[in-house]
């Protein structure tokens, strides 16, 4: 299947494997099409997870990861794409309804926006919180002191 996709899209797809698990790094511009093809033609009907990884040293800092599973084929695949800070990714809510909260969590934790998401807002942290905690430049003890002071009335902000 990956070979077929590779044949159709050429250099936009880089198939890789680690510890017996297949994944592919896909060019950002091909993402909507590839996800659509995986869902409709390759039967990947279950969107297991959407997440991201932050690599501050890279030029394109974020890697967005989709973990997909096909009930018919009993097979799992990961699709990854690399994007720069501030760039957006097309939402896959129209493809898998499950993507809704998963994308909101990625936005909450990394600040990556998904175009066309029906309700792009924070999910775990409160509205109005500043910063995205899973970025590498966000310290482990860091908090939005101002938010804590105003909303919880704790003067130190911690």
């Amino acid at each position: 299947m990956i070979a077929k996709l590779k044949g159709a899209y050429g250099s936009g797809i880089e198939p890789l494997s680690y510890a017996g698990q297949n994944y592919m790094v896909v060019d950002r511009s091909l993402i909507p099409e590839i996800l659509q093809v995986l869902r409709n033609e390759e039967q990947f009907d279950y969107c297991v997870d959407i997440t991201a990884v932050h690599y501050p040293a890279r030029e394109r800092q974020f890697e967005v990861v989709w973990v997909l599973y096909s009930y018919a084929r009993n097979e799992r695949i990961r699709v990854k794409t690399q994007i720069a800070d501030g760039a957006t990714v097309p939402s896959s809510v129209p493809i898998w309804a499950a993507a809704n909260w998963l994308e909101r969590e990625v936005y909450d934790m990394f600040g990556i926006k998904f175009d066309g998401h029906p309700d792009m807002k924070r999910i775990l942290l409160p509205e109005g919180w500043k910063g995205h905690p899973l970025r590498k430049d966000y310290g482990i003890l860091q908090q939005d002191n101002e938010w804590v002071q105003i909303n919880l009335g704790i003067e130190s902000g911690q």
Partner: protein, 383 residues
Amino acid sequence: MTDSNTLSHLDLETPEKPFLDANELVINMGPQHPATHGVLRVILRLDGEKVLGLECVIGYLHRGVEKIGEHRTYTMFNPYVDRMDYVAAVSNGLGYCETVEKLLNVEAPPRAQHVRVILTELNRIASHQLWLGTHALDIGAITPLFYTFRDREEILKIYEKYCGARLTTHAFRIGGLQYETYTGFEKEVKNFLTFFRPKIDEYEELLTTNRIWVERTKNVGTISAQDCIALGVTGPVLRASGVKWDLRKAQPYANYKNFDFDIPIGENGDTYDRYLVRMAEMRQSVRIIEQAVDALPEGPIIAKVPKVMKPAAGEVYHSIEAPKGELGYFIVSDGSTQPYRVRVRPPSFVNLQALDLMCRGQLVADVIAVIGTLDIVLGEVDR
């Protein structure tokens, strides 16, 4: 499996319709409501008693587990995962240890695998017992809570004897087990099975044909297999909708492939079917434990793993069938002693997303039943 990409009931186009209709009422349930199983806030939009739609507000228990993972070594992070789904701590530990083992390319020895299966299946029973007790309590049946907690105690006693902890057990280590089983472990587990088998019948006697229970659960919170798949719902909820899918069979981990067991499924995808599926799962767990105890091999309990773990740079996604559904870990290693990124794919979080769909058109009292039947643990939803 499904043809259309959109869900008929989910009005994703207009998530925030203004509430102008005079008949519509917006009320808050939670976050301190006893039936929300933790701190879940649900904003209900009602027409009288009928639910038109709802929105979940979560995050009250967010502790930043994934962030903590990036700042601890692989070994140090192990006990933290117990605190996510705290009623199924052993399952969380199994998923984490197996994922790191995949990164390290080691495999736990057979004896460790067997003990892992025994403890994890005991945990599944304990988790389902807690679900049954609280779910029945929410609906108005008080006795099952006493029964299930009385019997769950026996499992916790085994845990306590094995590793000293009852709830957040930290039972497994990367590569195998820390502790050899105590003297009489097999006998006590078998005694428990003999003790527990008639107890399931006892629970069922109270509820399965109880008219009030049936009325409160039949055709309540129905969800189709197609919607389950589109929403990523897994575990007993998916199986109650008729999809015969269990990771223990589909992609066997630990040594589940050596054991003989069935995957119970339902037909209607309603609250009653989910109840039946979980009851049947407890019986299957008993079967698995029995086989595992009988065939418990001798041998080492931990593989050769380095004291300082430095997995080669790479990434692995591995998931297990936790009592609530697919529990996945996605770990990225950069070759250092600490994970570069730990992502937990929590079953409760994803399953909770289906609450809106399942409650539409139901009554307020049914929302309580549906929250119970989804079997969510907020510690895992919020992490």
